[in-house]
């Protein structure tokens, strides 16, 4: 199971607008960053050099882990994708 190949296994209808938006200042001041290792789809990456957290919504499985693990409420938006968008399971 290579997480880089997630789009080969799991289907997504990707919206232009992300359904999750981070408050980058909160992330920059966070020393836990559980989102980075806990996200099952590796949507979060932390750049030590830039002191910046990046979230890419494309492969988001809408599982809710980041919402639970983040205790700083760093989300200026955490919605499920609007109807018809996001992950589309076939047989799980």
């Amino acid at each position: 199971m290579n997480i880089d190949e997630i789009f080969d296994y799991t289907s997504f209808t990707i919206d232009r607008e992300p359904h999750i938006v981070l408050d980058k200042d909160v992330c920059a001041g966070c020393d836990q960053r559980g989102c980075v290792n806990c996200c099952p789809a590796r949507c979060y990456t932390w750049s030590e050099a830039e002191g910046k957290m990046t979230f890419v919504h494309d492969g988001c499985l809408e599982c809710g882990t980041c919402y639970v693990v983040c205790q700083r409420n760093a989300f200026s938006r955490w919605n499920y994708p609007r109807g018809g968008y996001g992950v589309a399971y076939r047989m799980t």
Partner: protein, 432 residues
């Protein structure tokens, strides 16, 4: 489009569709709102649909009617280390005849079927509709709004069956704004295809018999476990780990999953299988202690949204509790319509019904299970202890054998410490 209903159900999963089905059969005009393009598209779980007695009351021929993969005739538990494993299995003819004790299912098929049954009974299914907000008028729930659409869908009462994060319950002020990572787990799953005959031979099955196995000690010391379930011609394998423990470990769920899949005794079971799908979801594992407010003026909360999940370490039940809670919520709403009163004082009957049912009795009965499942030693030391003890018992190496009781004491002292064993036994005794 019609916009006024007698009840709205948010989420067409097992809780929501059971609620909509029950209300529609009683003649209520009910809207079932689903954010996927069809019910089940967004839903994943390990793979075990436990027996749903309350759905069997509606469909006495459930097992020939619902889209099921296999019925579970054989269950197993494996204590695992990186190099060894010790298996315990149970099988009975009683689980091989109707009414079956449980099944494997695919959620995009099963959830869709249950929602379609609700539609056949008269419910209105609204797909591709993500609820944006809860409309509150004069302190009472009056309906919901849908993201990207104008206007509202109104009803005097709604059921929040929108899953573990339940933003509907949050907006109605029924759940805490923040969850504790100590009470939540994340499950990740890989689905492999495999010809039916290979599955039958490999796991000792015939006809539509299925096998469900749980694993302890396969999660790199992170609190959690693994699973393997046989579907008709695919197998589901995955791990479930506590989010706080995963966070502290710094490990990723997919690396843990890959390590599990690569364990020598496990990897043999997957031989020839091709990965078909990867999925993940949060599971409410806090048990009785994390149940939110279950009702308010014009609102009831059911299923995962109400944290009705019973993780005892032996079984991980959720879908059956969800369905039953949905049915009890529906019955309460049917009564409320007769009284034309949707206030808290009428809807509290839902909680009374739940308290009297096996759902709450089980959750109360196992309310200490989460504490037991927080014993770190379960996930490393004990599987090590079991496997090493068995190896000593079986090993022939030209030295005199130690008696088994002596061996047990020695291994327990070395690997865990006798005081810890006693305290853990006490915790487990209270939990189970």
């Amino acid at each position: 489009m019609k916009r006024e209903f007698q009840a709205i159900v948010v989420g067409a999963g097992p809780a929501g569709s059971s609620a909509a089905l029950t209300m529609a059969r009683a003649g209520l005009d009910v809207a079932l709102i689903e954010r996927g393009t069809f019910p089940g598209e967004k839903n994943m779980f390990g793979g075990l649909l436990h027996r749903m007695t309350s759905i069997e009351e509606v469909f006495p021929d459930f097992w020939s009617r619902a889209p099921l993969e296999r019925h579970i005739a054989k269950k197993g538990t494996t204590f695992m280390t990186g190099e060894a494993s010790f298996n315990v299995q149970h099988e009975t003819v009683n689980f091989d005849r109707t009414p079956y004790n449980g099944y494997t299912v695919f959620r995009p098929r099963f959830d869709r079927w249950l929602a379609e049954e609700a539609v056949s009974a008269g419910a209105t299914l609204l797909n591709r509709s993500t609820v944006e907000d809860v409309v509150i008028r004069n302190g009472k729930i009056a309906g919901v709004t849908i993201a990207g659409r104008k206007g509202e869908i109104s009803a005097p009462v709604i059921v929040a069956a929108d899953g573990v994060l339940s933003f509907t319950a949050k907006k109605a002020g029924l759940r805490k704004p923040q969850f504790s990572p100590d009470q939540m787990a994340v499950g990740v799953k890989a689905l492999f295809d495999m010809p039916k005959e290979v599955i039958d031979d490999r796991f000792g099955l015939v006809r539509n018999q299925g096998f469900a196995n749980e694993y302890v000690g396969c999660t790199g010391g992170v609190r959690g476990g693994g699973f393997l379930y046989t579907n008709y011609d695919t197998i589901s394998v995955g791990i479930v780990v506590h989010i706080s423990s995963l966070r502290d470990s710094g490990k990723t769920p997919y690396d843990l999953l890959n390590d599990f899949l690569a364990q020598p005794q496990f990897t043999k079971l997957l031989r020839g299988g091709r990965l078909q799908e990867y999925s993940a979801h949060v599971i409410p594992e806090g048990g009785y202690a994390m149940i939110p407010e279950l009702y308010g003026d014009g609102i009831l909360v059911a299923g995962d949204a109400a944290a009705l999940c019973n993780a005892t370490g032996v079984n991980l039940e959720g879908i059956n509790l969800a369905s039953h809670s949905g049915i009890l919520a529906a019955r309460t709403i049917i009564d409320a319509h007769e009284r034309k009163d949707f206030s808290r004082s009428t809807l509290k009957r839902y909680k009374e019904r739940l308290d009297l049912s096996w759902v709450m009795q089980d959750l109360k009965g196992f309310k200490n299970a989460p504490k037991m499942l927080h014993i770190e030693r379960i996930y490393n030391e004990y599987p090590e202890l079991v496997c090493s003890m068995m190896e000593h018992i079986y090993r022939i190496d030209g030295t005199p054998k130690t008696s088994i009781p002596k061996l047990m004491l020695r291994e327990a002292r070395e690997k865990v410490g006798l005081k810890n064993v006693l305290s853990d036994l006490f915790t487990a005794w209270r939990a189970l």
